[in-house]
């Protein structure tokens, strides 16, 4: 018995040693071929290590499952714990500068065009077209609204994983105290003001009807979307037929889409923009909105959870987030953004991108594709019991997912895409971090009352124009 055990262990050790040796050798081969001319990634039979920008906590099950499918592929986690996009970008850039970038990164809408435009992310069009059989089911379950945000110049750079559209969250305790109910889908901006007034000054006397955080996503951005305008003029690049014609032939919502969004010029001070900013500033002036802060939204969540805010913009990430923060099921609910000139919502989409020219493109692509499978997506930690971001698959937005922690109106998350297919991404050209900085800076001057909305937007416009002048290569000309 004793002897058998030790022999088995020895075998194990030998196997591990051999695997280690093999991976070492293959790494040496990669380096050698890289030095020679950089062509031909190693064939998939060899052991490959993929550096994956994700948290092990969230992806442990996925990687374990992949080990069974592709035992030769070793996934190495690169955890990036930044509090904002600039911090995450700091790390990606430092790694890039040191010549050690990740093989698979993660980008939200804010960075999609940056990585695509700078050639960092691998274009996926040909690979997608070669894998139609593998991907048809995935695309049939994902709204074209989401896929369109990951197109850039007629090529696809990411396969969407999660999204968040800004819907209106309600604190149900304050609603009840104000004698109100969650409004219907068709509610309007004027209804909203009534709601905000009714929920101000109750709940112990210091509650506010509506609160928001000054940033790009879900800031006052939803208000200019429903006022039928945008910070930057929007345009659809030509192309995309290959995608829409292949995977979305029968989807009416795919009609009229192109080869990806472009934002050719700033238009911060057009009358509809001014009107939208004047509206949100008037909420502060009437005392319906507490002081507007810059930041990640953590403060806002604290005040919403403790019953100080009646309404606030948020997406599916809050359904698990609020539960995480201690709210009971039923303590909050959600509805579409109120109608103004339109009812067009704004959203952000997150997905993996593959490093272009890193040598591991083929192996990385197989893993990314594996991640689009429904059973695999279900394994991701934040799509677990507490859903901490909205899954892109329609079929995963179901009663069961939100039964324990979600809002009663959970279907609003995906209805935003299916019933309001004009929903579009937050404006995020290649220089979106700088754009965001200008946007939040002038917004803070308007909300603190130091500039009129009109003056703030004039200032914003002239700085955005200077920004475009410094980036003559955007929008790219075909």
């Amino acid at each position: 018995m004793q002897r058998k055990m030790s022999r088995r262990e020895m075998l194990k050790a030998t196997a591990a040693g051999a695997a280690g040796l093999a991976s070492g050798l293959s790494a040496a081969t990669v380096l050698a071929s890289d030095a020679a001319s950089g062509f031909a990634a190693p064939p998939l039979q060899d052991a490959v290590t993929i550096r994956f920008q994700e948290s092990e906590q969230e992806y442990a099950d996925v990687v374990a499952a992949y080990k069974e499918v592709a035992p030769n592929v070793n996934i190495e986690f690169v955890n990036i714990t930044g509090v904002d996009h600039a911090e995450i970008a700091s790390k990606i850039l430092a790694q890039l500068a040191a010549g050690q970038p990740v093989d698979i990164g993660y980008a939200a809408t804010e960075a999609t065009q940056l990585y695509a435009g700078e050639g960092l992310a691998l274009p996926l069009k040909n690979r997608v077209m070669d894998s139609q059989a593998d991907l048809a089911e995935y695309f049939s379950d994902v709204s074209p609204v989401l896929v369109e945000t990951d197109l850039y110049q007629d090529d696809l750079y990411q396969l969407p994983r999660d999204f968040n559209a800004a819907n209106m969250y309600f604190n149900t305790a304050l609603l009840t105290e104000a004698g109100l109910e969650v409004p219907g889908e068709e509610w309007t901006k004027d209804d909203f003001v009534e709601y905000a007034k009714a929920m101000t000054g109750i709940g112990g006397g210091d509650s506010f009807g509506y609160g928001w955080t000054n940033r790009l996503w879900g800031s006052w951005t939803p208000w200019f979307f429903v006022n039928d305008t945008n910070l930057l003029a929007e345009e659809r690049a030509p192309g995309g037929e290959w995608l829409w014609g292949t995977f979305y032939k029968d989807d009416p919502n795919a009609a009229g889409r192109g080869g990806g969004w472009l934002w050719p010029a700033p238009q911060a001070n057009n009358p509809a923009m001014v009107e939208a900013l004047e509206f949100v500033v008037s909420l502060t002036e009437q005392g319906l909105t507490p002081v507007v802060e810059l930041g990640g939204g953590a403060t806002l969540q604290g005040f919403f959870t403790s019953g100080k805010l009646g309404m606030t913009p948020a997406g599916g990430f809050w359904s698990g987030g609020l539960t995480n923060a201690g709210m009971e099921k039923g303590g909050f609910d959600v509805q579409f953004w109120p109608k103004w000139a339109t009812q067009r919502h704004q959203l952000g989409v997150g997905a993996a991108w593959i490093l272009n020219g890193g040598g591991n493109e083929d192996a990385a692509w197989e893993f990314v594709k594996f991640n689009t499978r429904k059973d695999v997506m279900e394994m991701i930690g934040f799509f677990g019991e507490r859903t901490r971001t909205t899954p892109v698959r329609r079929s995963m937005n179901n009663e069961e997912r939100y039964s324990k922690t979600g809002p009663a109106n959970w279907h609003v998350f995906y209805d935003t895409l299916d019933k309001r297919p004009d929903t579009g991404p937050i404006p995020a050209p290649t220089f979106s971090i700088e754009e965001t900085n200008i946007y939040t800076r002038y917004t803070s001057l308007a909300t603190s009352g130091e500039m009129t909305p009109k003056d703030a937007l004039d200032g914003m416009q002239s700085e955005l124009e200077a920004l475009y002048a410094r980036n003559p290569s955007y929008p790219p000309s075909n």
């Binding site: 948290s55 430092a94 040191a98 990640g296 953590a298 959870t305 987030g321 923060a325 201690g326």
Partner: protein, 298 residues
Amino acid sequence: MQSTTVSTRDTAQARTRFRRPEWLPRNPGSWLQLLLLSVMAVFTLMPFVWVVSTSLRTPAQSFTVPPEWIPVDMDFSNYTRVFDEIPFWNQILNSFAITISVVCGQLLTASLAGYAFARLRFRGRNVLFWIVLATLMIPGQATIIPVFILISRVFGLSDTLWALIIPGISTAFGTFLLRQYFLQIPNDFEEAAMIDGANQWQIFRKIYLPLASPGLAILAVLTFNAKWNDYFTPLIFMNTKERFPITLGIVDLQGYMATGSISVVLAGIVLSTIPVIIIYMFGQRYLIEGLMMGGLKG
């Protein structure tokens, strides 16, 4: 501490009926002084009380106004969740390993360099001192990328604890601090030692180093604290959660898209601050002894 002065001027006490406790001040000026000290202490401590009491409350009760300073129903669930969500002990141990290595390294290099700048004469001393001082004047954010390239490409140490230790061992601040301490020590000591036949190393090791102990103690405490709270460097250098220091763990608690609970974050802050407070309370004895030893020389 100043017990000798108390006994010399105690005429007021003789007239009072009761015995004044030792800590009570003896005249109006001192009362005022104690009052100011106490007011400052209230200001510095108030946020701590708030953090601790909020971390012991459920999130729904977190931001009650008027603020409740004493948590009524002690809710420790926020604390247990910290352990569920991050590899807390691992990260605390990493922080200790990094911090203690850097503190020891800095004490060694800075005492040598500080002594050289203060007490030894050699060609190029002033130029070298200005170079050292100049390195204080560059913000860390400006050099992080070249340092990362160096650590990962040249040394091959990225994602190891060494990446956070090695660049921290040399210190311009510590060198400057200890130089000032060595400068304050009178020359008489050196002259006396030389007459006794001590060599230059012995003069440093046996005479000047002990006299600079307040400086060493201060450097140790300040370095410990700066390194313990370092956030930006590990953010760039480290990839594996098990190798993170606790500062990154705390940011992790804020969760994907800030979906974590603030109360859990506060609990994490309290937990991660406890070791530093213990080290400080324990180290304070040495710190004060160090300060007193420096004071004896007069």
